[in-house]
Symmetry: C3
Subunit: 206 residues, 3 copies
């Protein structure tokens, strides 16, 4: 339990910092940076909670607000040195989306939704913070364009369900399906994979 | 009842394909295309359900998810030939917004809202999928700029209420007010009508 | 009570007109202008109500819909002369955000949220109408870039809580914390203050 909370906090740090970096890139002011960090970190979970009509989680647990606040200040101050911890950030982010995916799936199951919807909820939890971050910064969301990111979440969430109907204990299911997300994401970045392009060369030139 | 479901499905197909076309235009990857198709098809109804605090409809009925999934694959594969079915698509889309408008109005009435709010809910159901589609693709929503689209919905929804207080049976009211949406939309496109410009020539040049 | 309603209406007028001006700038059609005015005026309160799972306020009280409708028509017709009333508009807007901030804080308290969340709710109520207005017009929200606007709301909402634990009567708390918002906003504009830039000259040139 402690471990999951710790991972969740590191994931939130990674998401918040991704927000800060996007906001800095757009030369936003301190308030704008804070909002973008906040939306990047809790946007996906908020959308999920609104869709399933559950209480919005960050409004009842202040830990994450303080984590986001701290991460934002840290990232703004050390923004020129974030390059050095880029790998750590990427790792946190990857573990973060794995965890967020599982949390979303489990909340969907608890609310009695169909597996397809639960997979969608897991993916929304992990991905829509980034989508809202990019929209607020007036960019087409990056995950719609070039990363195997959502795909990793969808496959991890699907794994969760395949195992859910077996006799494997809950804890192992979480670890295995979370690992699927992480491994696919790491491999995609390492081998520079992306979803197969559906465009012909001719189309790309236009 | 069967007929309405069938029309609803054709409307969803038309909306999903409109999303695919917008996403292809922005060169999104397959995941991005799917999300835009999804948002275009169910975004308006989702916003309506959140506003009136009702369960989000596509989360409890998977038919539409499969329809959207199928339409997206179809549209991506046959994207170069969609020109040939453009007229059919336009017709589905027009019948779709008529139906979505009525559904929105009826949900508003069932929840006990004032007629003005119900008309707004009908218009939101029919139009906000397209608004969200355009925002996710980083465009100013097209219906804010040049089409008699929302206006047709507003007039159809208003017709519904004018007749609602008469003795005309429910079914006829649906058919008549739906037809108002369809006829206005078809005439607007046929005669190339748009809302009167409020800008002087001088303003448009700036 | 009458006074607060009156201020609320003037605030709504100011927000709606800010929406009209943004929409005119983008050459939207009359329907688009109306929607942007509407979103600018009620968007913040709507997001707040959805987050705390309360009924959306404008859906149960039509006064504001009529006020927004009237303000939009007025602003479109007299758009070339709005320069003359710019100061009045700015004053309404400033009083409006003060009031919206307090309303948001009080709704948060009534729903039993932690002070930090209540301050966030007050700021969201006052600021997110403008954020949604700018996103729908495909702009990076102006309050993320250059105005002491959200900061005034945050400080006003914090003042509310500092006084909330004293023996000062409710009415005075509202007046004092509202005044804090107004005074900070007026001083910021008068002395051309903005949040301290966190960017070096070198960064701004890139």
């Amino acid at each position: 339990m402690k471990l999951i909370l710790l991972i969740d906090i590191f994931g939130t740090v990674a998401f918040a910092i991704s927000g800060v970096l996007t906001a800095l890139n757009k030369r936003l002011d301190p308030f704008g940076i804070l909002i973008i960090a906040f939306v990047a970190a809790v946007g996906g979970g908020t959308l999920r909670d609104i869709l399933i009509d559950a209480p919005v989680s960050w409004m009842r647990n202040l830990t994450f607000i303080y984590v986001i606040f701290g991460s934002t200040i840290f990232a703004v101050i050390f923004r020129k040195r974030l390059g050095y911890i880029r790998r750590s950030l990427f790792l946190f982010d990857t573990i973060g989306i794995a965890l967020y995916t599982i949390v979303g799936v489990e909340k969907g199951i608890a609310a009695g939704f169909h597996p397809t919807i639960c997979i969608a909820l897991g993916t929304i939890t992990a991905c829509f913070g980034g989508v809202l971050r990019d929209i607020l910064c007036n960019e087409i969301p990056i995950i719609f364009r070039k990363e195997i990111y959502a795909t990793a979440c969808i496959l991890g969430a699907s794994t969760y369900f395949l195992l859910h109907f077996s006799r494997i204990p809950e804890d192992f299911i979480v670890i295995i399906s979370g690992s699927v997300v992480i491994i696919i994401r790491l491999m995609a970045v390492y081998f520079k994979l992306s979803l197969p392009s559906i465009y012909t060369n001719e189309e790309m030139e236009n």
